[in-house]
């Protein structure tokens, strides 16, 4: 402030004037009309409450007046004829063929393991030992039935006369 320009003294003198005595009264009158804005958390809370209330009103109004869905336009079209060519049968890969075990009949030893009163409903309760896959995939043993124990079937001659006689009776 030591290197003052000479013109600053003049500036200082010209700015040394004061306002009219009525200015303060005018300011008081003007500020009494104005309302100071509140600050802090209180207006923030009010703002949030107002915003949430507005959002709720919006949601309620929207849920009550759902517009009916617009009907989809159906346009009639002439049927299109698509030529169908015979397709070759789909070839199954060899690995898939090998993987799937072929169903087979049970051998006599396996049949013995089943309970006598086995029904379709009880088959799920069978022990896994019987149904395990390795044994199921095992080679089928050759079973030889003793033919000697089989008795030859006896055929009786058909008597046409006897039947006729019975009918007649």
């Amino acid at each position: 402030m030591n290197d003052r320009h000479p013109i600053e003294d003049e500036l200082k003198a010209r700015l040394a004037i004061g306002p009219s005595p009525e200015l303060q009264a005018r300011i008081r009158a003007k500020t009494s009309e104005a309302v100071p804005k509140p600050s802090g958390w209180f207006p923030l809370g009010l703002g949030l409450a107002a915003a949430s209330a507005l959002a709720m009103v919006f949601v309620v109004l929207n849920s009550g007046t759902q517009p009916p869905p617009r009907p989809t336009e159906v346009v009639s079209q002439s049927p299109v004829i698509v030529p169908v060519e015979p397709q070759p049968p789909a070839s199954v890969p060899k690995a898939a063929k090998k993987a799937a075990p072929t169903p087979r009949l049970l051998v006599a030893s396996e049949v013995d393991a089943f309970p006598a009163d086995l029904t379709v409903e009880k088959i799920d309760l069978l022990p896994l030992r019987i149904l395990d896959i390795p044994s199921a995939l095992a080679p089928i043993p050759q079973v030889v039935f003793p033919t000697a124990s089989l008795e030859p079937m006896k055929f009786e001659p058909f008597s046409l006369d006897a039947r006729v006689e019975g009918v007649n009776e």
Partner: protein, 179 residues
């Protein structure tokens, strides 16, 4: 609930009363400052008073955030400066419009002549107006109410070094203009 709302209302009323009382104090101690800042731009007593009044009205609306004395004065000075510049611009436009239409009345002509009665005053204000705005506000504030550079720095929210530098450049520029 009635008791609670009653207490709440009472506390708000007390707060409002406190705010009013504090603002009365600010009016009493800062009216001259606001007027002089406005006068430094407008050089017209009536215009400066109008601008000071508007500045206080705006300050009152945000007074709850500006209760600290120094912040209030700083805010008031900047607000008054801005309002005065706006007022000056609109006045210039108005004068220009009236001159173009040749409607300057005899009374306005005489007030204009009164404002320009001193060649010295004209020279002074032209020199001040020729300064860049940042230097202008610094030199005006440094020459009212015996402000020190530190006080000017607080009012403008600037470091003291910046104020000193702007003051130095403003003085150099005034020397060049008035040579």
């Amino acid at each position: 609930m009635d008791g609670y709302s009653g207490r709440l209302t009472a506390s708000f009323l007390t707060m409002a009363d406190d705010l009013k009382r504090e603002f009365e104090l600010r009016i009493a101690e800062s009216t001259n400052l606001a007027f002089r800042v406005a006068f430094g731009v407008l050089r017209n007593r009536e215009d400066a008073e109008d601008v000071a009044q508007d500045a206080f009205a705006k300050a009152y609306r945000s007074f709850s955030k500006l209760r600290d004395r120094e912040s209030f004065r700083a805010w008031l000075v900047r607000l008054t400066w801005r309002l005065a510049l706006d007022h000056q611009r609109s006045r210039k436009r108005r004068v220009l419009r009236e001159e173009i239409h040749g409607e300057v009345s005899g009374r306005e002509r005489s007030s204009l002549e009164a404002a320009l009665e001193s060649e010295r005053a004209e020279r002074l204000w032209l020199a001040i107006d020729a300064l860049p705005e940042k230097q202008r506000i610094v030199i005006v504030l440094a020459n009212i109410e015996e402000h020190t550079t530190q006080e000017v720095a607080v009012l403008l929210g600037l470091p003291e070094g910046t104020v000193k530098s702007r003051l130095f450049h403003a003085r150099q520029r005034l020397t060049e203009i008035l040579k």
